[in-house]
Subunit: 426 residues, 2 copies
């Protein structure tokens, strides 16, 4: 193991900001003294993400016709999705798209590659970074694996990883290489080919397989190990995986809080335990409910099935307060580089839970407004007119991320990442 | 990982017995036809163990004089210990001796080697196999480690392992190489040098260190990885350790049941999960109470401190029933090769709990009688007179273990281990 890292949280978020001197050059390469420029932030270096599942239909050309076939239905549904897309794009800049094998390729040899390529392209066209989730998982896996021998399962799993990572390279360069390996070989809710594979190969070799194939298909990809089990079991797995020489780029931590908000102390303790491996942390799946909480005795969240699980006014206030506390806590820890909220809308949310930021009727909840205020206001560099000094320089104090400098009607990009900056107008 | 192993439990314990043909030869090497012989079992191949902590004083020449200095006290105490020793030796054949660094070498450079050598020799002289516990652990570790740098801690920890394993080779050839590595780097109850070391090196490298030094000092030693955490965390750690090429001889599973007997289903599920690595399993620390149970909300058993924790008649009946169920369940699983009960007497028991098999006043509890009946009666080959056939053969159907054949006033050892047997009288 590499030497452990000790990183202290800083609630002032000073580690998220920079003060940078930018020299503005004219088309001739000479500094432009005493010139009016406007600096505008375009995106955060920090990954503020959400799932893009709900928008795949829209990106794929609108929702499929309803069973009833009423043409009016499609138009109304499309309008709803367009409204949802506006809300989504106004706050988030990283989308997680679904690559569950069981839904991506329910019939062997007929993967939904085209549909997902269109979805990924739709997000990329709108300036959104896309992540694929997951390449290897025992849940929602291809049912037809059960007909194969374990060595055949390994073969088709390897091929599937190479295929997806290759087909989407350039559009999707970040992947959950493997999901929930801690429980994978002992998962007993449902017989499935991946648990069989992992039980025979062991966790570490299964992790290796996923990373090996994904890396071979796209050497530049960012590959995550992702898990919901944040106990010492995950630490032990990670230590074994690192010891085995598997190159993990990012450690993914789920945080579905259907049973209640963790609070600052628990959250920071988790971040402290997992940051000491020196890997960036992504909070890959964060959920806070705006309704009744799931009872604490439920161990597998999937076991809690209710007919009706409404979002309530009191729940929405609580969700809004908790989401602010959670994001402030996570951003305070320098190892955290991304948070993906798990749900934009209650419509079709996992388990039917009121986990979304937007109600079933399309109106934003207070939690949405809170996130928008944090991400696009309090933590945002508003367009600011500045004047260069005699040496053509302006000082920008802002959040790490992508910016634009405009002057004389021209626009040039600027990246605030700590390097000395020079921008040249065309 | 090696291919997973599937082993089915067998309540009939047929895997613990053998039917073996033994040819009895005379001093001239010729078979002795039609001769009366008696076959007697001496010990089980299975390890029926207990801690030997309480008998160290006796083995070391009697208890130390009391503070009051009354000579009668020592004599009475010695008599009590001699009585306890008889009870101990009548049932058990494997002893765990304490090598907690903090009590073994409280002052650097002054280890209790002589005292423990005498204790080990005492047991060995009585036909008992001795195990040392533990070579590396963060609890009850040497307090003076806190004054050292982490690299110095590693150095003295390595030296300590080599020293003990070398000094005791021949008397103690089985060691808990490392104890509770799952929690080791995140243990936060008490600052200590070993947690610091493990946090910096990582769990796997710390495990490697312990096994490496112990193996180097005694290549023939049986070395255990031992833990109380039987969750998936331990599986993950073990997979990482095996992947890293550390040779683990035996997997040690603690089972302190201060909060209640596990029951057959949970016990078998644990054995199933840990047997699939193909390693022998030792139940290294088993406890069942004969009094009130510890409340279920206690997470670290050490947190439960009570002034008075009596053994009760109802508790003793429950303990006796549970110990029988527990031993039957454990023996039914072919991967289990040893059970060490953690306590012979309530006098001085860990946490003051009524965990012993003998009451404070020295009288045996029903659980003692149950164990004695199982180990030395139901699962024992009583001395049996047999007559050889015309080819000098007798058939012995008995429990795997060490036996003695006597004929014509002579005694020769016999090992019932599945090999064809021939014994020659002197």
């Amino acid at each position: 193991m590499r030497a452990p890292v000790t990183v202290s949280p800083d609630p002032s978020l000073s580690h998220r900001t920079l003060r940078s001197t930018v020299t503005v050059l004219g088309p001739d390469g000479q500094p432009l003294p005493q010139t009016e420029v406007t600096v505008t932030q375009h995106r955060h270096a920090f990954g503020f993400g959400n799932i893009g599942f709900d928008l795949v239909d829209l990106a794929d050309g609108g929702p499929a016709p309803s069973a009833a076939g009423a043409p009016g239905h499609d138009a109304a549904r499309t309008a709803e999705l367009e409204h949802l897309a506006l809300l989504w794009l106004d706050v988030f800049s990283t989308a997680t798209l679904p690559f569950y094998w069981g839904t991506f390729e329910p019939v062997r040899g007929r993967p939904a590659t085209g549909r997902l390529l269109r979805a990924a392209q739709w997000f990329v066209d709108r300036g959104v970074t896309v992540k694929g989730h997951p390449l290897l998982w025992h849940t929602v896996t291809a049912p037809w694996l059960l007909e194969l021998s374990t060595s055949e399962i390994e073969q088709v799993q390897r091929e599937r990883i190479r295929r997806e990572v290759t087909d989407f390279a350039g559009l999707i360069d970040t992947w959950d290489a493997i999901n929930e390996a801690v429980i994978m070989p002992v998962f007993d809710k449902e017989d499935n080919g991946i648990t069989r594979l992992c039980r025979e190969k062991g966790r570490i070799e299964t992790v290796r397989l996923a990373f090996e194939e994904a890396r071979a298909a796209n050497p530049d990809a960012t590959l995550l190990l992702n898990d919901f089990d944040l106990s010492t079991a995950y630490e032990c797995l990670l230590e074994g995986v690192l010891e085995a020489g598997v190159q993990v780029d990012v450690l993914g931590l789920q945080s579905h809080m259907h049973q209640g908000y963790w609070g600052e102390e628990k959250t920071l303790a988790i971040l402290e335990r997992f940051s000491r491996y020196g890997l960036p942390l992504h909070l890959t799946e964060s959920t806070l409910l705006s309704g009744e909480l799931m009872p604490p005795e439920i161990e597998d969240l999937n076991d809690h099935q209710v007919d009706h699980w409404p979002s309530t006014p009191a729940g929405e206030e609580r969700q809004a307060q908790e989401i602010e506390r959670h994001y402030r806590t996570l951003l305070s820890h320098p190892s955290v580089e991304s948070i993906t909220y798990w749900g934009i809308t209650d419509d079709g949310a996992w388990l039917g839970a009121p986990a979304g930021l937007v109600r079933q009727d399309g109106t934003p909840k207070p939690a949405y407004e809170v996130l928008r205020r944090l991400i696009k206001d309090e933590w945002w560099f508003s367009p600011t007119p500045l004047r260069t000094d005699d040496a053509g320089r302006v000082t920008v104090s802002g959040w790490r991320g992508d910016y634009e400098v405009s002057a004389r009607g021209e626009f040039v990009p600027l990246v605030l990442d700590g390097e000395p900056q020079q921008v040249q107008l065309p």
